[in-house]
């Protein structure tokens, strides 16, 4: 019998797939069909010649469910490898966000001052607005967005997490 406490854990998985039509639908269908959570999902071709794409999924579940997710992913035919980065060690995780803030006067100055402190770039501006670009860890972005709320936050676009293992080797 399972004696481990049944508490949820968040894991980041890196999935190397054959870049063929429908492969993302297979992954997403697996998650929705089996009722697994998707906290974040990113996908892009990473090695053009080898026809490989990398899908990074952040998911939450009990240890038993996390183990299931990994083996269910591995069961999909066009999948090369599934790596639970959280199990292999503290992975490097970054996200890119575009944040639009509109306002005048004090608020506008304060927004720009905070953006500098957070190392966000201004990529578009007028006398009434800024668009900031920012990369970083999840909580840094969340914190910045929170601070922008009273300063005239209009909208946010985020890429979801890209993650990679530490050290010199590939997964």
């Amino acid at each position: 019998m399972d004696s481990r406490p049944i508490s949820n854990e968040q894991h980041t998985m890196s999935v190397l797939v054959d870049n063929e039509p429908g492969v993302l639908a297979r992954v997403i269908g697996l998650f929705s069909g089996r009722g697994y959570n998707i906290d974040s999902l990113t996908v892009s071709e990473t090695e053009h010649e080898a026809h490989l794409s990398r899908i990074t999924i952040v998911t939450t579940g009990t240890p038993m469910v996390i183990e299931q997710i990994k083996s269910q992913l591995e069961r999909l035919v066009p999948i090369h490898s599934v790596n639970d980065l959280t199990v292999s060690g503290q992975p490097m995780e970054r996200e890119l966000a575009l944040i639009k803030v509109a306002g005048k006067g004090e608020k506008r100055v304060e927004a720009l001052r905070l953006a500098e402190a957070f190392r966000a770039q201004v990529i578009d501006a007028s006398t009434e607005h800024f668009v900031f670009e920012m990369t970083g860890k999840l909580n840094k972005i969340e914190q910045f967005v929170l601070l922008m709320k009273p300063l005239g936050l209009v909208e946010v676009a985020r890429t979801g997490i890209a993650a990679i293992g530490r050290g010199p080797t590939r997964m």
Partner: protein, 588 residues
């Protein structure tokens, strides 16, 4: 040198090169080029069914009784959607199939063209894998890959969707030996260290049990032989799931009968009380485990499975071994022989004594009647009169299926074809068509319910056309018996829509199909009627009128533990009331 041919010719060539002798199908606009190529060759014989669901079930019956990959050919749109139930059935029961579907020409895909549907989208969750072939030069490779994926690892259905322009286009053909799959490499060899540990655990067990499933049968005849050898070497008791019947002979002293919701008392009690459980090719399905937190609480569990995702899915196990059943069993035997462990005679004697005590409950007993045929008696007589024949049994879904599993005794694998995972009413008749196609001289019997069999009855016409003398043995209780039983136990006897008010006269129906109808109404008629059925060289609809309100016992009510079974002989109203918890009621 690669040869050039049309897409349709490539399909036929690939099927022939994959050793396909029979394909079950139904034509339509989007597969006409393939039907034309089919017409001009003799390597592959086509069986025209009456509904695409029937084609898939027939291919399943064919596959399960031969160990080969079943082949299906259907058209786009409704042809493909009609196949979906069969594909899902094959996925749930791990049956290897390749289903070729026609598709509208590539330039029309996405335009809501006539008879267009998103076949790969619809079948993605109900196949092991699927393909849409957009380039004729990929077609041969994809078809060979499809067969490879269908039959290796944990088997399953694969769909290949081929647009009509690709069927007409010319492209190059490659043979099966030139195709190596890029990513798919199932693990078949079990970990040696784990195998050694398993031998240690089994050798030290005081109350061991083998619990086996369809994986042993899917692995092939070698796995069955090795299972028998190993189980006999150890002398330990063995039970199996519905899917695994026949892997171990039912006549053997070590056999405890099937386990699970309608399994035997001795099998379920032994599962509950064992100290070491050896699961070979079964998946701890909810029909087997009952209440999870009370499932075999004191045992160490070994789980041998080819599919890593079956490990720790429902039940956390102590020792997983990922690999093919035959390979792992062979290694277990080798290590066991080298070790020659000392059996704990005293402990094992006590364990068998406990089991014999459970056996003495005679859990399958039922009250005989001489005015009406008890359904259990009908299966018992069928078994006694046919057991010496070369017999294959298929079933529909319901009480009759469970009585068939309880009372028909299987000595060999691949002789029992039933829809386990999906529980598809309408499976048995077309499955029998497929089995008979593969074994023309065998006695093929579908043990059926009158409600189920009406779902795919039209395949009688297929059986007549191809002179397949299948026997449809209907336990006719006029009720959807299993539904009625649950309504009796869980819904206060309110029999909402489980009685069929207007059934056809099955004898006349048989005549309409130009086959033979036989009816038995009294226990005294039974033997002669069954003998008559066996002597007829045509398809038969056998209308066996049975007790309308008989219930199927023993039963573990949903949400209950193995040691909390309802027995047939002594269920009182109060026990029934108390048996099923509120949480149990929401389960199926």
């Amino acid at each position: 040198m690669a040869r050039t041919m049309t897409g349709a010719e490539i399909v036929m060539q690939a099927l022939a090169d994959q050793g396909v002798e029979h394909i079950f199908g139904y034509p339509g606009g989007a597969v006409l080029p393939i039907y034309d190529a089919l017409f001009q060759q003799d390597a592959v014989k086509h069986i025209l069914v009456r509904h695409e669901q029937g084609a898939v079930h027939a291919a399943e019956g064919y596959a399960r009784s031969t160990g080969k990959v079943g082949a299906v050919l259907v058209t786009s749109g409704p042809g493909a959607t009609n196949a979906v139930t069969g594909l899902t059935d094959a996925l749930m029961d791990s049956i290897p199939l390749v289903c070729i579907t026609g598709q509208v020409p590539t330039h029309l895909i996405g335009n809501d063209a006539f008879q267009e549907c998103d076949t790969v989208g619809i079948t993605r969750p109900c196949t092991k894998h699927n393909y849409l072939v957009r380039d004729v030069n990929d077609l041969a490779r994809v078809l060979h890959e499809a067969f490879y994926v269908a039959k290796t690892g944990r088997p399953g259905p694969v769909v290949v969707d081929i647009p009509k322009d690709v069927q007409f286009a010319e492209g190059s053909y490659v043979g099966p030996s030139n195709v190596v799959h890029k990513t798919y490499r199932p693990k078949v060899k079990g970990d040696q260290e784990a195998i050694r540990q398993a031998v240690d655990m089994i050798a030290a067990a005081k109350k061991p049990i083998f619990y086996t499933g369809g994986g042993v049968i899917n692995s092939g005849p070698a796995a069955t032989q090795l299972l028998r050898e190993f189980v006999r070497m150890t002398g330990h008791p063995i039970t199996s799931t519905l899917m695994g019947l026949g892997a171990f002979p039912a006549s053997d002293k070590q056999w405890l009968g099937m386990l699970g919701m309608h399994g035997t008392y001795e099998a379920n009690m032994a599962m509950h009380d064992c100290d070491v459980m050896v699961n070979v090719g079964a998946r701890f399905d909810d029909r087997i485990t009952g209440r999870l937190d009370a499932f075999s609480p004191g045992s160490a569990k070994i789980h041998i499975d080819i599919d890593p995702s079956s490990i720790n899915k429902n039940v956390r196990v102590d020792l997983p071994i990922i690999g093919d059943a035959a390979y792992v069993l062979e290694e277990l035997i080798r290590v066991w022989r080298a070790r020659t462990p000392q059996a704990d005679k005293e402990a094992h004697g006590a364990w068998w004594k406990q089991i014999d005590g459970w056996r003495a409950r005679n859990c399958l007993d039922y009250k005989p009647r001489d005015d009406v045929i008890m359904p259990q008696l009908a299966v018992q007589r069928l078994y006694e009169l046919t057991k010496k024949e070369d017999v294959y049994i298929t079933t529909e879904v319901g009480q009759h299926q469970m009585w068939a599993a309880q009372f028909y005794r299987f000595e060999e694998p691949n002789r029992w074809m039933t829809s386990g995972g999906l529980g598809t009413m309408g499976y048995g008749l077309p499955a029998a068509v497929g089995v008979q196609m593969a074994h023309p001289d065998a006695l093929v019997i579908d043990i059926a319910g009158e409600a189920s069999v009406l779902m795919t009855m039209q395949e009688m016409s297929t059986a007549v056309q191809y002179e397949l003398p299948i026997k449809i043995f209907i336990l006719n209780n006029q009720y959807m018996g299993m539904v009625r039983q649950w309504q009796e136990l869980l819904h206060g006897g309110r029999y909402s829509h489980s009685y069929t008010e207007a059934l056809p006269d099955f004898v006349k129906l048989a005549e309409a199909y130009q086959c033979v109808g036989i009816r038995a109404e009294k226990p005294g008629d039974l033997d002669d009627a069954i003998k008559e059925m066996m002597s007829v060289k045509k398809p038969v609809l056998f209308d066996c009128r049975v007790h309308k309100e008989a219930n199927c016992y023993p039963m573990i009510p949903s949400g209950e533990a193995h040691n909390n079974m309802l027995m047939g002989d002594d269920v009182s109203e109060e026990e029934l009331e108390a048996a099923i918890s509120e949480e149990g009621k929401v389960l199926v």
